[in-house]
């Protein structure tokens, strides 16, 4: 058994890594490259109108067709990677970091802190996530920045809950006691010793959450509360095409495919990380 573990840890030999992590990693890696240098891949400018090719179906000139303003759908899908990958990362990194710190504190301290935290969790999960985020965005005003704030205000709770539960288990184990009898400070025990053992579920959830954030960003974009037109964003694009579903399906379908593909990448990566870290234990 230890040979498997050793292999998983000792290196990034591709064979030893879970297949889901490899495939998820490839999808995400390509997505990230596209997101960073979209103009290398996009054949047209994403916001230039072309009145000679309105609602053109997929062809060699426009593989994904054009929309009602004659904009190339492929170029818009490619440029949207920049915004959508940003959403995936920026909407989740804050909640991940903050939630983890709060969860670690609450899980270790217990007692009154845990009780207070429990009530905050209850209050938050009572509301449907999307409704809460929409409410906050409508107060703050539409736009990506406010969307990050809204998602952050709600999202950290889920990370904190995962980490707190795991820390509560870990702090009872012998090695935590061993840390205490070595005279380590609580801060050191929590962050250096317990957290690396407790953070796995949070990392796996983070991957899923990034996929959800893309969906959420698209939903808000669709509703006009996220990225604003004419910016290329998958949700905005799907909204653009909603009136033409019968005549020009390609305007909405290709951004939808991009969402599914990226979501798949994050999910596979999440599964792969879970598997990798499970082997390590």
């Amino acid at each position: 058994m230890s040979t498997v573990r050793a292999a998983a840890i000792s290196a990034f030999r591709l064979k030893a890594l879970p297949r889901s992590l490899v495939s998820g990693g490839i999808i995400l890696g390509l997505s990230l490259i596209v997101a960073i240098w979209p103009s290398l891949f996009a054949p047209y400018d994403p916001i230039t109108f072309d009145y000679n090719a309105l609602l053109a179906p997929p062809s060699w000139a426009h593989p994904f067709g054009t929309d009602s303003f004659g904009r190339d759908v492929l170029s818009r899908v490619i440029h949207a990677y920049t915004i959508n990958m940003q959403i995936a990362i920026f909407a989740t990194i804050g909640p991940f970091v903050f939630g983890t710190i709060v969860g670690a504190f609450v899980g270790y301290a217990g007692g009154i802190w845990e009780a207070i935290f429990g009530r905050i969790v209850d209050a938050t999960i009572t509301f449907p996530f999307l409704v809460l985020v929409i409410a906050i965005v409508s107060v703050l005003g539409p736009g990506l920045g406010n969307m990050y704030i809204a998602v952050g205000v709600v999202g950290w709770v889920f990370y904190a809950r995962l980490v707190a539960a795991e820390i509560k288990v870990q702090k009872r184990l012998d090695y935590a006691d061993a840390g205490r009898v070595m005279g380590y400070t609580p801060l050191r025990i929590v962050f250096r010793h317990l957290l690396p053992n407790a953070i796995t579920p949070a990392i796996v959830y983070w991957m899923t959450d990034m996929a959800l954030a893309i969906l959420l960003g698209s939903s808000l974009g669709y509703l006009g509360l996220g990225a604003q037109p004419p910016a290329a964003e998958w949700g905005v694009q799907i909204a653009d095409g909603k009136n033409f579903m019968n005549t020009a399906w390609w305007i909405s379908v290709f951004p939808g495919v991009a969402i599914v593909l990226t979501g798949l990448g994050f999910s596979l990566a999440g599964d792969g990380i879970a598997e990798l870290l499970r082997v390590r234990r």
């Binding site: 090695y175 009898v181 005279g183 380590y184």
Partner: protein
């Protein structure tokens, strides 16, 4: 909590002096007295064994000394370490002593080591907490410690994780972490129970060797009388949370004064004597929430009389000053035919 003894142990202020240590747990089935009125002295350089069945309070005593007892547990009494009371001490002061002056090793080295940190880093953690050494010096010291505890290829193994170590090597690594700051007292909670007999022997030899080289005291909790005989200078036998007999290992093994000790000794095979049946102690240890009246051992004791049901015998000195026993009939027990 009548710590009646005002006599300072044989060691004055230099070592560990426990007086009237009582640890209780407030459970739903009533107050469980896990350790009651425990007196214990450990002189510098001395190895003291704490022996008893599971649930007799030996581990709890150790954990109480380290202040590891959690809610709903409660510890009272005095635990003096070099003249300072560990029970009254603040968390901050305690942290300074733990790991540097007093260290502890656990029964199951797999769970007592952090699974996600390399061994070398775990040794260095202790050095970071208690010494001003820089990174290079810490690494050197970690290497030195690995050599001291006898881990081969120490240089390479510093970067390995606990799961890459065998059971015996893990316990050695645990000892290396505990020894990082050259503690003066090592509390060992059944350090060899989870190991093979051959590895057990190596680890015990290592502990004795380290005791000599570092002149540290060791409190060894175990249920294995063979381990006590091989390593300890003095021993204390615990039953139902109380010390029932204490003295030097040689004296107790030669002539037990408490029927429980006598039973324990009769239940292990000995070489060099005629072949006889092994004796077991009838019955089971009592529930800590519902102790028998009088002497807690009386339901299992063949020497018991009426007084044992009514009164609890105090731990009192018998002939040599260091030898104490809590039994009304210790003369009869001692005089009884040696256990076969």
């Amino acid at each position: 909590m009548t710590a009646m003894s005002e006599n300072i142990g044989p060691n004055g202020n230099a070592g560990l002096t426990v007086r009237g240590l009582t640890t209780t747990f407030d459970t739903s089935r009533g107050l469980a007295i896990a350790a009651a009125d425990v007196d214990l002295d450990v002189a510098p350089g001395e190895v003291v064994g704490l022996v008893g069945e599971s649930g007799s309070g030996k581990s709890v005593t150790l954990r109480s000394i380290m202040r590891l007892v959690r809610e709903p547990g409660h510890v009272s009494g005095r635990i003096d370490w070099r003249g300072r009371d560990l029970v009254a001490m603040s968390a901050e002061e305690l942290r300074r002593i733990h790991g540097s002056e007093i260290a502890m090793i656990f029964q199951e080295p797999m769970t007592a080591l952090n699974p996600v940190l390399p061994i070398g880093m775990q040794i260095e953690e202790n050095l970071i907490a208690h010494t001003p050494l820089n990174a290079g010096q810490r690494r050197a010291r970690a290497l030195e410690l690995m050599n001291i505890v006898g881990i081969p290829a120490a240089d390479r193994r510093l970067d390995e994780y606990p799961h890459q170590f065998s059971g015996g090597m893990r316990q050695r690594a645990m000892i290396a972490i505990a020894l990082a700051c050259s503690p003066k007292l090592l509390l060992a909670d059944e350090p060899t129970t989870a190991l093979d007999v051959t590895i057990q022997d190596q680890i015990l030899k290592l502990l004795l060797d380290l005791r000599d080289r570092l002149s540290m005291s060791v409190v060894l909790v175990t249920h294995d009388l063979g381990v006590v005989a091989a390593t300890c200078d003095r021993m204390a036998v615990m039953y139902a949370g109380r010390i029932v007999e204490t003295g030097t290992v040689a004296e107790i093994f030669a002539r037990p004064h408490h029927p429980y000790t006598r039973g324990l000794l009769g239940s292990v095979p000995r070489t060099g004597t005629s072949r006889t049946m092994l004796q077991s102690i009838e019955g089971t240890p009592p529930s800590l929430t519902n102790l028998p009246t009088g002497c807690a051992f009386h339901p299992r004791c063949s020497f018991a009389t009426d007084i044992c049901l009514k009164e609890r015998p105090a731990l009192e000195a018998v002939t040599p000053q260091i030898r104490k026993v809590a039994c009304f009939h210790h003369d009869r027990v001692a005089a009884a035919e040696a256990i076969l």
